[in-house]
Subunit: 214 residues, 2 copies
Amino acid sequence: VEDESMKLYFSPLACSMASRIALYASGAEAELIQVNTKTKRTADGGDFLLVNPLGLVPVLRTDDGAILTENSAVLQFIADRHPEAMFAPRELDERARLHQWLSFIGTELHKGIFVPLLDKAAHEAVHAYARAKASSRLSWVAARLEGREFVLDAFSIADAYLFTVLNWAAYTQVALDPWPAIVEYMRRMRAHPAVARAFEEEKALYLQEQEARV
Amino acid sequence: VEDESMKLYFSPLACSMASRIALYASGAEAELIQVNTKTKRTADGGDFLLVNPLGLVPVLRTDDGAILTENSAVLQFIADRHPEAMFAPRELDERARLHQWLSFIGTELHKGIFVPLLDKAAHEAVHAYARAKASSRLSWVAARLEGREFVLDAFSIADAYLFTVLNWAAYTQVALDPWPAIVEYMRRMRAHPAVARAFEEEKALYLQEQEARV
């Protein structure tokens, strides 16, 4: 790997999987560096808190050494670097729709519902508070997906992010069955080449990580 | 007001104030429609849930009648329509930095800390969970603002959003005093013409709304 290549810091099946999907879909090259989010150590023993003091993945170290945090920023950076390979709308109205969905997935689903539910140490009232918002938010997603193949008009980083976040439903007892449009969407996404490759790889790494903790 | 003008649905001092600041800073024209977020009625008696089923402000109805939700999407739409008036970075690295800060403010500050704290009906464990994240997040903001006038290289929608969100600290007993860089930043922002105008107007509307509820 050359010094000037991009590096993506990730944790298996975390929100950083969306960035891996975007890399595969766009054909971008990046070194993938696994982070143990419990110990805040990278796979080579480095201190991840020196990379991101908040300890959150993903982090993208760009070609010129700049550190970029926040999932939706990393996703847009990858997509915008490879507009020929990945659907990255340039027209104002379509771009606004992309921004809307990245923000909705990031705030309402990721941060509002799944982060608290995935935090097993959180008080049950915190879990109940998050869970109470799930139905209205998933209804909103289902209404969008009704009759659509993707969140936007073609496969985009919004799909990479939505698939990654809704994949946590299985780990948090959030039922998706009441929304057939979402269930069908997840099935379609799992068959998408970039998603399938990223998902298989990260599932295997996740299991390795779980086994190492036993 | 002409039929084809933009409409911004807002609630006083809610996150939609950032959009009002962006409108004033960019010189964009929009009809401002007040929403009572308790009753979900607009000031003219309309049903806001027909505009946004999730009941959240801001909503921007664009010139062509499209409905745009999510704060960071509305902010970017306004800024991108008036690139001559407002700092809206076009270069990939700078735009990535804007995306990073919009996402951080939206997920970590707005949704992760202040939405639960502003929800007075939430369980005290929910408040404690949100409050526990405040120090690390505010330290991150303070580190960025150290020696900088704005979040980016010039006044931008990231400032409009950050000011609006940190203004809630006074209503939620989140102390900003430990971070002088943030206290000074808020003082500078209150003196910015677009911020000052929006803040004065929304404070007055907020007080009217509170009085009407007594």
